[in-house]
Amino acid sequence: MSAAALYERPLRWLARWWESLAEHAGQLGLLVWATFSAAVRFRVSFREFVRQLQIMGMQSLPIVIVTAVLTGIVTSQQGGYQLTSTVPLYVVGSITVTSVVLELGPVLTAVVLVGRVGARITAELGTMVVSEQIDAYRSLGRDPLIILGAPRILAGLVVMPALAGLANLIGTISGMISAQMALDLGYETFLFGARLFWQSWDIFYSFMKAITFGFAIPVIAIHMGFRTRGGAEGVGRTTTDSVMFQLLTIFILDAMFPPLFLQ
């Protein structure tokens, strides 16, 4: 085998990978630009925006609340288990609030939204692609990025911080109740511990994360939905890929936050 033939396959693979990356980047850029330009020119359908708020926000409330309650309980009880007889128990308040606000509230809410909203968006738009509804929008002179993409992205930017804020509050309260019941830690002692290491920057940090995730989830979901090809199987495959990309993106973005904003 000649040297050229030896390098040909990896080079071809690399070229295809690079082409695919450039294609994704270009399409994502177009989607974000279409949303931004539609928003500043007030071309986003208010009715569709409100509908998306309802689907993404109101319909996600039960699962977000359950997740937040359980997160608060687990964090305070595990904190208590680790700290009993070593440090003052009021530190449980600090650990619970800090863990929920800085990490678990926004991240777990985002994971819930990926499963509930991100997958739904990709499957919905993917089905519209394979049933030619997206082509129909184009044939009628309408831009599907503006009609279908922009309201979902804007709704994500509103819904995610609201849900994460609620998850932070509920997680803190459930942690406090759980600490009282399991560790016999009074509410005032819990809140004393919480205030001891609290910084107002923490809540801002939490909302920054939530806004970032609230942008990333619908953008990736919409982008993948529009790329769907090949019937029902294609919709299934793209939805799975989309969920995987969304989760990966959330965890990577999450890992970037501490070095960028907590130094």
Partner: protein, 264 residues
């Protein structure tokens, strides 16, 4: 109408190429004239729908161009494409109705956005009403219904109403009778012919229904191997000696045509 009525085609495909892993269109040159009814035949997967979609920029050719009413779809910029899409109504193979919208909103989407913004609500409602009546649907009955509640034939009619509500100059039909029973097929064919005469539009049909198309159309063409293999009147089509064309006229010739295709 059997002959072109104007010198310049209203739609012209110029050396149109498109490949999806393998070549589908390999330099199609074709002209369709104002006011005519034109049918495009061809074996499955030969790119008939692809060619139709290049007319309004739904699929972008790799090479070549398409001109609609003298405007270059691919070299004219966004404004030209918008203008072309206003002039053309497209009827999709499976209707492509918007699931989340009722029939009224679906048909309303057929009105160009700019025109819709300037229209009074009563005028919009009247236009939708007329379009639904033209396709023989009862507006009162169907307007509030979601597409999921309609039968296949009714979906087709709503799709047609959406395509004609903006009163386009050109109608593109992508396999309009696919999936319909013989009664609905005959009804839709009659509707297509009636609309073409009543609205005086140029119609281009992509279809497998040779019999129906020969009855409706003044000219037909056959796409095969990425090229236009035949273009002429229905009479010429029926007497054509080419075995591949014969296969579409006479089922008995199918085997001979298969041999020719395999050999080439």
């Amino acid at each position: 109408m059997t002959r072109p009525v104007t010198a310049d085609p209203v739609i012209r495909y110029r050396n149109t190429h498109k490949a999806f892993k393998r070549p589908v269109l390999s330099g199609v040159d074709l002209g369709i004239y104002e006011g005519e009814m034109f049918a495009l035949f061809g074996p499955s997967g030969t790119g008939k729908s692809v060619l139709l979609k290049t007319t309004i920029g739904l699929i972008v050719p790799d090479r070549g161009d398409v001109e609609v009413a003298g405007m270059s779809v691919y070299h004219g910029g966004r404004k030209v494409l918008e203008s072309v899409r206003e002039k053309v109504g497209y009827v999709f193979q499976h209707s492509a109705l918007f699931d989340s919208m009722n029939v009224y909103r679906n048909v309303e989407m057929g009105l160009p956005a700019e025109r819709l913004r300037r229209m009074q609500t009563s005028d919009v409602a009247r236009a939708i009403w007329e379009a639904l009546e033209l396709v023989n649907l009862d507006p009162v009955e169907v307007m509030p219904i979601l597409p999921a509640e309609l039968s296949g034939g009714m979906k087709k009619r709503v799709g047609i109403a959406r395509a004609i509500v903006g009163r386009p100059r050109i109608l593109l039909w992508d396999e309009p009778t696919t999936g319909l029973d013989p009664v609905n097929t005959a009804a839709v064919e009659r509707l297509i012919k009636g609309l073409a005469e009543e609205l005086r539009v140029t119609s281009v049909l992509v279809t497998h229904d040779v019999e129906g198309a020969l009855w409706m159309c003044g000219r037909v063409a056959m796409l095969e191997g990425g090229h236009i293999r035949f273009c002429g009147t229905p009479d010429e089509f029926q007497t054509e000696a080419d075995p591949v064309v014969r296969a579409f006229v006479d089922r008995a010739a199918a085997e001979a045509a298969l041999d020719v295709v395999e050999m080439t």
